[in-house]
């Protein structure tokens, strides 16, 4: 097993091969929409595109996203080698057109051309007690990132107080404001509590869960279920064309907050919901 090549394969899989849980959810959405409706046509196009990308090994979406990597590694391992492997793989994946060059210097507005730059790819490291390495990759498009939002409770305009009812209101407001712009139907990650930074981080990490997997916290599991039902009543539909499916899933996580603050962060990911992981144990690599 060569780490950098394994990393490249992880990127290739993420950008071309949509995970089964997402594809199944899209197919179920297709079945729900009425014959001849714009919503059904959109889902038909999406399903055709998913198949084509997998078959041709080309990107599902031309916005191959920001490259976001979470590494869990055993005691004594080096962060440096994962960063080097990630950079090599990102540059190589760009050459092979698995990734579009998506790293732009915000001051000069110059695109680096190879997805490498200051803090690009984004890497998060975590040391754990297992004797294996887990590398999780998310390719997150810019359109869906732009419709993410952070609220602080209470919110007077939305009459949202400091409780789960208030959390529900701000999530509904965020999804209503997003309309079709984040490539609906989206998947919603909610971070409740923490400071501003950790709140957003928590909302985004939710995306590594599988669709349909409920929170282990019964209050949050109930919130997820209620929001899933409510959001799909909005009628925004795929691409904002109207329809029965506005979101494919809702995940919520919580963390303790300062008494004075109550942040609710909402991360939105498009239907082209691309995340994969690999487990490295000795010389064996398994992808999921």
């Amino acid at each position: 097993m060569e780490l950098k090549k394994a990393m490249l394969e992880l990127m290739r899989r993420a950008t071309t091969d949509l995970s089964k849980d997402v594809e199944d959810a899209v197919k179920q959405a297709y079945d729900r929409e009425g014959e001849g409706t714009p919503a059904k046509n959109v889902f038909g196009t999406i399903i055709e595109n998913i198949g084509l990308a997998r078959e041709a090994s080309t990107p599902i979406c031309q916005d191959t996203g920001s490259v976001i990597i979470y590494v869990d590694f055993p005691v004594g391992d080096s962060e440096k080698k994962y960063r080097e492997a990630a950079e090599w793989a990102a540059a190589e994946a760009t050459k092979l057109q698995y990734l579009r060059p998506n790293a732009v210097d915000p001051v000069t507005c110059k695109n680096s051309g190879n997805n490498i730059g200051t803090n690009a790819p984004y890497l998060h490291f975590h040391q754990w007690d297992k004797d294996e390495v887990r590398v999780r990759l998310m390719l997150k498009g810019g359109g869906s990132e732009n419709v993410g939002a952070q609220y602080k409770l209470p919110d007077t305009g939305l009459k949202a107080g400091r409780d789960l009812k208030g959390v529900k209101k701000v999530v509904i407001d965020a999804v209503q404001k997003a309309q079709g712009q984040g490539c609906a139907p989206g998947v919603i990650g909610i971070g409740i509590g923490g400071d501003r930074v950790t709140s957003f981080a928590l909302s985004k990490e939710q995306f590594f869960r599988k669709l349909g997997e409920q929170s282990t916290d019964p209050d949050l599991a109930a919130l997820e279920k209620e929001l899933y039902e409510d959001l799909n009543k909005l009628g925004i539909g795929p691409m904002g064309f109207g329809g029965k499916t506005t979101c494919l899933g809702v995940y919520a996580g919580k963390q303790h907050r300062h008494p004075a603050t109550f942040y609710v962060s909402i991360s939105y990911t498009c239907w082209a919901y691309r995340r994969k992981q690999m487990i490295i144990k000795g010389s064996e690599v398994t992808y999921d």
């Binding site: 595109n49 599902i60 979406c61 691409m239």
Partner: protein, 193 residues
């Protein structure tokens, strides 16, 4: 299904209505954030001939360059159009653009511009990168590649039977406005507002 071929006359653009499904064939020009800013701040002439009675495509493609130096699109779906809201109406007017292809729709300033100029907003399926990439038959030329980078450059290319839906027309109609109003009502009920 309505067949549309570039160049598109003002009369043809004005005949289209929200809900019409079209198959577009001809030359289109990709332009997104940096390109729109440039078109308003500097009003460059190099792009004029490609945009007169032509089509702007909100897209940042994944592009392949072969050994002979020829470009082709590997994936080329729509990007979110609302970021061009500050510029779009003026760009359409300056360059006599007849159609803008994107996703997510645009706001009142663009809606007004479409009415004034005689142009439409066409919606394609966002994220369908591989599928739409196949409809791009040829890349004619590119401008500002070095300066703007691949996603932001002006790619002038040829499409065949590119399926889109008219979601904003030159009569003030907008599917996006209607859906947003309807979903806001539901959201208000759900939030108890």
């Amino acid at each position: 299904m309505i067949k549309l071929t570039t160049p598109i006359s003002e009369e043809t653009a004005r005949s289209l209505k929200v809900g019409d499904e079209v198959l577009l064939t001809g030359t289109i020009v990709t332009a997104r954030d940096a390109a729109h800013k440039l078109m308003i701040e500097e009003r460059p002439d190099f792009i004029r001939e490609h945009l007169k009675d032509g089509v702007i495509y909100h897209c940042g493609p994944v592009v392949k360059k072969d050994e002979a130096g020829e470009y082709s699109f590997v994936a080329a779906g729509t990007t979110t159009s609302s970021r061009e809201e500050p510029y779009q109406a003026a760009v359409c007017e300056e360059y006599s653009v007849r159609a803008v292809i994107g996703k997510g729709g645009m706001g009142p300033k663009t809606a007004e511009g479409l009415q004034k100029v005689g142009a439409v907003y066409l919606h394609a399926v966002g994220g369908a990168g591989s599928l739409i990439g196949k409809m791009v038959k040829k890349v004619h030329t590119v401008y500002k590649l070095e300066e703007f980078g691949t996603p932001e450059a002006f790619w002038v290319c040829e499409v065949e039977d590119f399926p889109c839906v008219v979601t904003m027309d030159s009569h003030g109609g907008s599917l996006h406005k209607d859906i947003a109003a309807a979903s806001q009502k539901v959201a208000n009920d759900l939030m108890g507002l």
